[in-house]
């Protein structure tokens, strides 16, 4: 059963001078529990595709159906709530809330969801322990390394209980060791908690960890291979 069904997706940026077809008629299904990498050269449309799947950007045409909801038809207000309850985000430059601790950053989305206080505390603790940060719960982002911050970001993305997590180049700012640690942790969460990850990357070592690799070029899918 697919969590994401993408049909005839087109995104054209009609900027000042030239039209850029960033996504050119993409059809794609993503199933629950996938650990999928979107790869391709710079400018191939990875970010554009992920932004549209994540409901941050709207396509020129085509549809994106997430659990039988066509998110391209949602109004911006509904879309925000949809994102809150269905999609987790991990960004390249961590993007944590700087004034909040790791635990508070993780709780934040659950508080936006108006979950029960005791449940939030319990879940925050268990998730941060899972990502290996039980000792850093009360640290602020500026007291943590990039790798640790990105793990908090993954924890935050998981906390809301999303259908999938989107991560646009999550390791681009990390060194080799932290890249490996983050990927191992994400893979563990994928296996242990059944979390669906869709991430983009340039990094060959990251690509090699993926269970499915979708290659984009000039906005088209030129290759889609599943391992095993």
């Amino acid at each position: 059963m697919s969590v994401i069904e993408i049909r005839d997706l087109v995104k054209i940026y009609d900027g000042s001078a030239v039209e850029v077809t960033a996504i050119d008629n993409v059809n794609l299904n993503i199933d629950a529990g996938e650990f999928t990498a979107i790869v391709g050269p710079s400018g191939s449309g990875k970010t554009t595709l992920l932004n549209m799947i994540g409901g941050l950007d709207s396509p020129t045409s085509g549809s994106i159906i997430i659990d039988s909801v066509d998110i391209t038809r949602l109004k911006s207000k509904q879309l925000i709530d949809f994102r809150l309850n269905n999609i987790g985000f991990v960004f390249q430059s961590y993007n944590l809330i700087p004034v909040l601790t790791a635990a508070e950053n993780t709780s934040f989305v659950m508080e936006l969801q108006k979950r029960e206080k005791s449940l939030i505390n319990e879940r925050t603790k268990s998730i941060l322990t899972d990502v290996g940060l039980s000792a850093k719960m009360n640290s602020r982002p500026n007291q943590m390394s990039g790798g640790e911050q990105q793990r908090v970001a993954v924890a935050r993305a998981m906390a809301s209980g999303p259908k999938f997590i989107i991560a646009d180049e999550p390791t681009a700012n990390l060194d080799t060791k932290n890249t490996e640690k983050l990927l191992d942790m994400m893979e563990e969460m994928n296996e242990k908690r059944g979390i669906t990850f869709i991430f983009s990357t340039h990094d060959q070592r990251v690509i090699s960890k993926a269970h499915r690799i979708i290659v984009l070029e000039d906005g088209r899918i030129i290759k889609d291979e599943k391992k095993q």
Binding site: L56, V99, L112
Partner: protein
């Protein structure tokens, strides 16, 4: 605690230096506004107190004809039932029956027109605190056991040369001769000896009034006990003012009861409108400060574009983003305003005890009835009003920055490299 509330509060302190500059400006502005209001209120309070306790009392009763024409024979009609009413009404602290005559006063070296008031000291001292305003070495107040005395002001003493110009010493017991028109238009002459000298903060009052024993004045005209021109009434509580006045006007159709707000319209107006005036001052100050606040918040929003984009991406809706920025602006404003109010209050409390003497700066205040030593004060309610205005200013100042934030597109905001 609400998470958005705490995030907003913490955001205030992210750029400490920038926030502290605005907070300091708000603090200084608020302190200045509060203190200025306290100063003015001190003045107004003193003026009103002097109007009630010396110049006018709370309510004055007249024969309506006397108000149109201060004729000697326009006595209050039906004094006996009126007096009975005034005695039993427990809202009334006391009253004083007076005779009022315009007279020419003359000594061997000067003359002037005066309002001669015949009073009974026992009654008068309950109604008026004038007896407390005797100048140093200025003799005594009127005494029923010492007939023939007159209580005049320092100003009158100067005019009539009953004060030594060089030494400033008063010539007590010196004789003043009064001339005035009797019941039938005949000229009456009567002399008094100065028994005491007073000085109030109102020069006009001082130049106008002189006090003698009612029985002395009565015998000269002559008038009987029931022939009086004015009854000055003092209440236990100023808040009963209109109820007592209205009651008297209703019960005694032959009497005109006027309260101090009507008798001294300038003071009446001030007591009604000063509060609004203070709020206008505070409003202006806060309005000016709002620009600094808006500027700071706009800078903060611009700096935090990426973060706000992220918050919207992960599912923080527009109203929560708005709330966050509005609260941050209100906090930023509140911190300075709270400290400013505390400083203003402290200044008022200190100077309210010591007083501020303006006599060296400004001679003219007393001529228009204003005391030259001011004791600033402000009612607690003022601070509630200011707090409310500060919150409203914070909310108003947040609108533009919040709008800016809401216009941000998460995709755009996240794309910007840091």
């Amino acid at each position: 605690m609400d998470r958005i509330l705490s995030v907003s509060w913490k955001n205030v302190w992210r750029n400490k230096k920038r926030s502290l500059i605005v907070i300091t400006a708000v603090m200084l502005g608020t302190a200045a506004g509060v203190f200025t209001s306290g100063l003015m209120n001190g003045w107004v309070d003193q003026r009103i107190r002097s109007v009630i306790n010396i110049e006018q009392s709370h309510i004055k009763l007249y024969n309506p004809d006397f108000l149109k024409n201060e004729e000697l024979t326009n006595y209050i009609k039906g004094v006996a039932p009126l007096e009975k009413y005034l005695k039993v009404n427990n809202k009334i602290k006391g009253f004083s029956k007076r005779i009022k005559i315009m007279a020419m006063a003359a000594t061997s070296r000067g003359n002037t027109g005066l309002m001669l008031l015949g009073v009974n000291p026992d009654e008068e001292m309950v109604v008026s605190e004038l007896y407390k305003d005797i100048v140093p070495d200025g003799g005594q107040y009127l005494d029923n056991n010492k007939p023939g005395g007159i209580f005049i002001s320092d100003k009158t003493a100067e005019t009539l040369h009953t004060k030594n110009k060089e030494t400033g010493k008063y010539k007590l017991r010196s004789k003043i001769v009064f001339t005035f028109t009797g019941k039938e238009g005949e000229m009456i002459s009567q002399s008094y000896r100065v028994c005491g000298i007073f000085k109030t903060s109102n020069t006009a009052f001082d130049q106008m009034c002189a006090f003698v024993l009612d029985k002395d004045l009565r015998s000269a005209i002559p008038l009987n006990e029931n022939e009086i021109h004015e009854i000055a009434v003092i209440l236990n509580d100023n808040s009963d003012l209109s109820s007592v006045k209205d009651d008297i006007n209703k019960r005694f159709p032959n009497i005109s009861a006027l309260d101090w707000k009507e008798l001294a319209p300038d003071a009446g107006m001030m007591s009604e409108y000063m509060y609004i005036y203070y709020m206008i001052i505070m409003g202006f100050i806060l309005f000016a400060l709002a620009f600094g606040i808006i500027n700071t918040m706009l800078m903060a929003i611009l700096e935090r574009g990426k973060e706000i984009g992220m918050l919207m991406a992960i599912g923080m809706n527009r109203s929560k983003v708005f709330k966050m920025i509005m609260l941050e602006t209100v906090f930023l404003t509140m911190v300075g305003a709270m400290v400013g109010m505390a400083v203003g209050w402290l200044l008022i409390t200190i100077t309210g005890k010591t007083g501020i003497d303006f006599s060296s700066v400004e001679e003219g205040f007393e001529a228009i009835g204003w005391s030259s030593v001011v004791y600033p004060n402000i009612p607690a309610g003022f601070f509630f009003g200011v707090t409310l205005m500060v919150v409203l200013t914070g909310i108003a100042a947040s609108l533009l920055p919040a709008r800016k934030a809401l216009k941000m597109n998460p995709v755009e905001a996240l794309r910007t490299d840091n």
